[in-house]
């Protein structure tokens, strides 16, 4: 092989045009004031990359810049390659391989996001010992008290009554993480209920006021115990960490996390995860109600009342953290019909 290139001695920025000849495991480099021979095995060559020039690091700081070609690549066999392994360039060069790469990327990405991350998060969440899960969630209620909630204004009698009914549910559920009931003034969040990772179920005063029957509140509690049972708090934390890490770590070079293009799909994905949790909690809550001798219809009624109160469902289903109320109510009533059949 004979090729002309440019030589840089590593001490000055002057380019020297050289003729390079390859023979018997060596390169002979000749040009104005340059005449050297170097063993190919002692050279470190930059990886093959598109149609860019190859940069060969010779002994010390000297470099040699040569136009890339298959012939040069064959000559450089004994050299060390700096960068990605040689097969990567081969993949890039073949359109079939590129098409396969597009397909694999989309398919694996889809699988990981839709199944992989939730499955992994669920696996990990259910293997965290109950006392550790409780400990981890200790600060959450305090933080919410500071930022969101006010003190409850329900009378002691009413609270005691709900507490008793909650204990019946909790006893029936008999979970590793024991659910505990707390009342708070919802203020900004209005009529609502929350399950925290530590097993604490928060019911807002507004929810109790809104309900027309006590059983509706009990039904919402059962739904929240469903969140505790399935460790949704911990799982959603792990899932958002997982997805965030995936996007930032693996795709950081390809999609800027800060950009809308990166953040929007992330948000949509997390909302879909959340919808799955709500459906799971609905199913569990309905079963739990029936187990303590209540009608699961109460949950459906409570959901409809909450939806009417908040004016929810103004946003399309795929943009929401909760599934559309109609769908949830239908699912609950469907489950009721099936359990009657049994």
């Amino acid at each position: 092989m004979r090729v002309s290139g440019r030589y840089f001695d590593g001490t000055s920025s002057r380019a020297i045009v050289v003729e390079v000849v390859a023979y018997a495991g060596h390169l002979r480099i000749q040009g104005e004031g340059v005449d050297r021979e170097i063993e190919l095995a002692a050279i470190t060559a930059s990886e093959r990359l598109g149609s860019t020039a190859r940069i060969l690091r010779l002994s010390g700081e000297a470099t040699l810049e040569l136009p890339d070609s298959d012939e040069l690549e064959a000559v450089l066999r004994p050299a060390t390659i700096h960068g990605a392994p040689r097969f990567v360039f081969g993949l890039e060069r073949h359109w079939l391989a590129v098409c396969v790469a597009v397909a694999i990327t989309l398919a694996v990405g889809w699988l990981v996001v839709v199944d992989g991350v939730p499955a992994l998060a669920s696996y990990v969440a259910h293997r965290v010992p109950a006392d550790i899960a409780t400990e981890l969630g200790r600060g959450t209620l305090e933080a919410l008290d500071e930022q969101v909630f006010g003190a409850t204004e329900l009378d002691a009698e009413s609270r005691g009554n709900f507490r008793d009914r909650f204990e019946v549910l909790a006893a029936e559920a008999s979970l590793e993480i024991a659910p505990r009931l707390e009342f708070r003034a919802g203020l900004g969040v209005g009529a609502n209920a929350f399950a925290l990772p530590s097993g604490i179920v928060v019911v807002t005063d507004e929810l109790v006021m809104l309900a027309e029957r006590e059983e509706e509140v009990v039904a919402v509690m059962a739904h929240e115990i469903g969140h505790v049972r399935h460790r949704h708090g911990l799982r959603s934390v792990l899932q958002s960490v997982g997805i965030g890490v995936l996007v930032a770590g693996a795709l950081g070079d390809f999609v800027s996390v800060g950009s809308v293009a990166g953040a929007l799909p992330l948000l949509l994905v997390q909302m879909q995860y959340s919808q799955g949790f709500e459906s799971e909690a609905d199913a569990y809550g309905g079963d739990l109600l029936e187990a303590v001798g209540l009608d699961r219809e109460h949950l459906a009624t409570a959901l409809e009342r909450l939806a009417a109160d908040s004016g929810a469902d103004a946003v399309p289903g795929y943009l929401s953290t909760h599934p559309a109320t109609d769908e949830r109510v239908q699912a609950i009533r469907g489950a009721a019909a099936r359990s009657v059949d049994r």
Binding site: A101, V102, I104, T105, V237, V255, G258
Partner: protein
Amino acid sequence: MPPAELPFSNAPGDAAAPKPSRRRFEFTGQPGEYFRIWIVNLCLTVVTLGVYSAWAKVRTRRYFYQNTRLDGSGFEYTAEPLKILIGRLIVLAFGVLYALAGQFSPQAAVAMIVLLFLASPWMAVRSLAFNHRNSRWRGIRFKFLGSYGEAAKVFLAMPLLVAVTFGLAAPYHHGRQHQFLVANTAYGQSRATFDWEGSGYYIAYLIAFGVVIVGGMIAVVAVAGVVGLAGLETTAEDPESAAGILAVVPMMVGYFAVYGFAAAVIHAMTTNLRYTFSVFPGVRFDSTLSPGGIVWLYLKCGVVVLLTAGLGLPWASIQIARYRAEHLTVLAADGFDHFQQAEEDAHGLGAIADEAAVGFDFDFGL
């Protein structure tokens, strides 16, 4: 393709001095070629659960460096992928810890943020040093010589000054950051200088401020018009919320248009200033970015990326790199052959700080 040698138009009339040559940066990357590199990088990264991302990063950066050419020579990026991988793992561990701490112990999360804040000057200097040391042109290394103390002053103390002056010091701070970045850069033994004055930065910010005020007024009038028209057609049921939803979309568009243009003004004008003030021995720069050009470029790229569900990203990256290169010219008094290599420092800089800076999305304006 050798760069065209253009006559130096605004040279002083000194006949004895050799005429400086004017050379434009070139960007020779091709969208089709880069798409293939990008998708194979992405695929291998996904298949290896992210491990390959370090090699992908080096390959990507190398592609852009090598295809950015000046006077016939491309730039070289020589970082070790393995160092970048180790850096990524450490950043990943910190990120996971922070995310978990944020959920379960606000105090721990705050402590981590404070730690990160205090470490940020160190991280900035380390990442700049890592990147400079691994960048070469014609075999000569770049070097970053900034101290942690100066970084702390520029990145920690001066933002406080900006805050207490209600933003009046922001343009000055912008220029001071440029000074920190440029005046601490050396190419071989040649250290850059940055003889700057703040007035240009203040003019850029004033124009951007004017854009926000005038654009904001136009946007408010336009949104009110849209809502008013729609309101006439809304029936009695829930006029308030219907108008509210109708107003949200044009408001978002208006917001992005106004602030996008203001950001483009600041970006274009301050980038031009940065290059105007940067001088290497015998070498000056001339940058001719225009706000309109920047807005059009990013708009075009954003639309293509959205319409192609992200597959147009490599195309967009190439357009942006090409635009930047084509608007940067170098004026060399006596060519590019006189630069000398500097002694290499013994201490091996790792990629950790660089990765930390990337992982937490700190943009130091590089």
